[in-house]
């Protein structure tokens, strides 16, 4: 990030109401393909960039979450507003660019007035003027500029028309400010009371009347006729832009229908989660085969020594076992992006608000919970859009129970053990049940915590759900695609090093100190000797020592130290469980496919010191249950600490979820055994 900023150059902050084209403008100015969002409140962190080189002068541009007023209603709005008065790192903006949707002029002028009243230097970027024209109106930027006493520039978000003028105006304004000195903004929140709002909106209606003019019928007759067919005229007292997009109204009549709306909602959710499994399958096979082959070739090339083992088993197989779920993460991000871009997510939030409010959550918890299926970290960050503190903390509390994508490789492996490849549809069904279980457990948890709300989460304020439902639009597929690519990349930049370090560590602990065990090799084939050496080396390794130490905890749930070590290493990141199993069971290159070799080693494994199989349907199901509940992710705990403001909630989460996981695993394994399933 630091390299993106030029010290000592002016700071320009972009603000605007949600869906006013703010992020699109940021993309034009910064030249980066940043996210344009259609779900109100999806930008939860700042984006900062310098102005594109082609504009020939230096400035930093800050993009922040959308706001509709300078009085914050939720933490994400507070982030933006605080940054306006003084950003913790970049100080007070020299200039503020405010994006205003021309077709929503009277609503969006509120922010302009508040900014001007607070003494900010602003330029207004007027967007969606084409939409206003389709409604039959022209808007005069010079008139609006005169009314507000600031520059107003029309911007076309699709073509980028107007960007040059905007940059020109930025340059002129900055020069003027430099010459005259910038007045410090005043924090006058208390002045923005109800009377202020009422009189402001009266002014805005007058301004709107002054600056908009009806397009002459003769000129625009054909267009107007077309427009009247497309738009629903609510109020014939023109001037007011009380038109709605009829297509949106028609779609809403179905998607928000009391019966169909719910059915479609469930179908959309079902498609989302099944496609994670089905669409990713062939891609996962490719990753699997190529890493298996790579490991095999490297091992053959380097010969039989510790270095060769480190590279092929420690690094290649360790990474491969995790990279195998890249396709699944990518597909999940892709679908979430598509749903967000069309405008459906806001409707989804509206549909589930009532049921969620029953268990102490909010309709706005919907998007964080849904993102929780990809990764808990962005999910916890996005809870900042929830205005009510108690609802926000409760949402953060249960997010680790949503089945995140890091659990997928674990489930994929365990389900593949339970169900042979021929019956992959059963595995798909089982995966769906795991997701349903994760939803049920999180809602039950929420309602229980909600009952004890004052003991665990002590905060109470007004519960509220006021959300704009944006007009439906076709998602820009290329943007969604590049967004999911970026999300997956950022995710792996974070997870990648940890995975590599841990794979190396686990390899070290399973390989040393007795790395060259003596085996009585008389009358044995070379292959047999290697196999005996492997198991001898492992059972006298550091990992085995640690494992035997925790053995008493593992015995009641029917597992031995090797699973214990894998579970401990999975605390760094859940997906490490798979690579750790691969290492501990010394999956080498008997076959070219990684997953199937882990499976065949698992099928052979016996509980140490006994003749009983370690992995049985009962213990595998137990492991799945463990992963459903356990909070095995250090990053999640760290983010939870940051967002809740203390260690209290993450510590409760950690111990509670781990205890529940162990308890249910114990009950599952022993329950299944009691009814004869071993």
């Amino acid at each position: 990030m630091k390299s993106e900023i030029i010290e000592d150059s002016p700071l320009i902050t972009l603000v605007g109401p949600p869906n006013s084209g703010k992020t699109t403008l940021f993309n034009y100015l910064s030249g980066k393909n940043y996210k344009t969002v259609n779900y109100p409140g999806a930008t939860v962190e700042y984006s900062i960039s310098k102005l594109q080189k082609k504009f020939n002068f230096e400035a930093n541009i800050l993009d922040s979450p959308g706001i509709i007023s300078l009085v914050p209603n939720s933490p994400d709005e507070k982030v933006t507003i605080d940054s306006l008065y003084s950003h913790p790192r970049f100080g007070i903006p020299d200039l503020v660019i405010l994006t205003i949707d021309a077709s929503q002029l009277s609503r969006h002028l509120l922010l302009a007035k508040q900014l001007l009243d607070s003494n900010f230097k602003i330029i207004i970027a007027l967007t969606m003027t084409d939409l206003l024209q389709r409604k039959g109106y022209n808007i005069s930027t010079s008139e609006l500029g005169k009314e507000l006493k600031c520059d107003v520039i029309k911007i076309d978000g699709r073509t980028g028309n107007g960007i040059e003028q905007l940059v020109k105006s930025i340059e002129l304004n900055l020069e003027k400010i430099k010459a005259l000195g910038n007045n410090l903004p005043k924090q006058i929140h208390n002045n923005f009371n109800v009377e202020y709002l009422l009189s402001s909106f009266n002014d805005f209606e007058l301004i709107e009347k002054k600056v908009t003019s009806k397009i002459l019928i003769e000129q625009k007759q054909i267009n107007l006729n077309k427009a009247n067919r497309q738009l629903k005229v609510l109020n014939n007292d023109l001037v007011k832009n009380n038109y709605l997009d009829t297509t949106t109204l028609k779609i809403d009549n179905i998607l928000l229908h009391k019966i169909w709306g719910i059915i479609i909602f469930f179908i959309i959710m079902a498609i989302t989660f099944t496609s994670i499994f089905w669409l990713a399958r062939p891609l996962m096979n490719i990753v699997d085969t190529s890493f298996g082959f790579l490991s095999f070739s490297v091992h053959n090339f380097l010969g039989i020594n510790w270095f060769s083992d480190f590279v092929s088993n420690g690094i290649i197989n360790g990474t491969g076992a995790v990279l195998i779920f890249v396709p699944q993460i990518l597909i999940l991000f892709l679908i979430l992006g598509l749903l967000e871009d069309t405008g459906y997510l806001a409707r989804g939030a509206m549909l589930v608000d009532k049921p969620l409010s029953k268990i102490g959550l909010n309709g706005r918890s919907f998007v964080p919970m849904l993102s929780g299926f990809a990764c808990a970290i962005p999910a916890i960050l996005s809870t900042r859009t929830i205005p009510n503190k108690r609802e926000r903390l409760l949402t953060i509390f249960i997010i680790p129970l949503m089945s995140c994508s890091a659990r997928l490789p674990v489930y994929a492996l365990l389900l593949a053990f339970l169900f042979p490849a021929k019956e992959s549809w059963v595995a798909g069904l089982a995966l769906a049940s795991i997701y349903i279980l994760s939803i049920i457990s999180s809602t039950v948890m929420a309602s229980i915590i909600n009952k004890f709300k004052n003991k665990i989460i002590n905060a109470e304020d007004n519960s509220s759900f006021i959300l704009e439902l944006p007009a439906y639009r076709l998602p820009k597929f290329s943007v969604v695609l590049s967004n999911s690519y970026h999300s997956a990349k950022i995710y792996f930049k974070k997870a990648g090093p940890i995975i590599l370090i841990l794979s190396s560590l686990i390899w070290f602990f399973t390989y040393f100190p007795n790395y060259n065990p003596k085996i009585n090799s008389s009358n044995l084939s070379q292959e047999k000797v290697i196999q005996l050496q492997n198991s001898e080396r492992l059972s006298s390794s550091y990992a085995a020592d640690l494992g035997r130490f925790i053995q008493p905890v593992m015995t009641p749930i029917g597992m031995d130290w090797r699973v214990g070590v894998s579970l401990i290493s999975a605390f760094a990141a859940r997906e490490v469980f798979v690579s750790s199993l691969a290492l501990i069971f010394k999956v080498t290159d008997s076959e070219h496919k990684l997953q199937s070799s882990i499976l065949s080693e698992m099928r052979k494994a016996k509980i140490e010191g006994t003749n009983k199989f370690l992995f049985t349907p009962a213990t595998i199901t137990g492991l799945i249950i463990f992963f459903v509940f356990a909070l095995q992710c250090i990053s999640t705990l760290a983010v939870s600490r940051k967002e809740t403001g203390s260690w209290r909630i993450p510590i409760i989460q950690f111990f509670l979820f781990t205890f529940i996981a162990y308890l249910f695993t114990f009950l599952t394994v022993n329950g299944l055994r009691a009814i004869g399933i071993n």
Partner: protein, 73 residues
């Protein structure tokens, strides 16, 4: 006087005033529900709550308990 929460599906009304004692009244005003504006009840969610209104050319979903502070003529 009835409130916006009592509007029927597809029914329109003109806002008379906003109940300032309601904790959400400021946000209700900020999103554009001001006296004199015409609103229409466009959609209701499952269990009839939240409900979506058209106001000033956009669609805003609010909870019934919050729509109660919007008084209709």
């Amino acid at each position: 006087m009835k409130t916006a929460a009592e509007l029927k599906f597809g029914e329109t009304g003109i806002i008379h005033e906003i109940d300032k004692s309601h904790p959400s009244s400021r946000r209700i005003l900020e999103v554009g529900f001001t006296p004199g504006q015409e609103i229409e009840l466009l959609n209701t969610s499952i269990f009839n709550d939240p409900i979506a209104f058209s106001v000033r050319g956009s669609i805003i979903a609010v909870r019934k308990s919050e729509a109660n502070c919007i008084k209709i003529l």
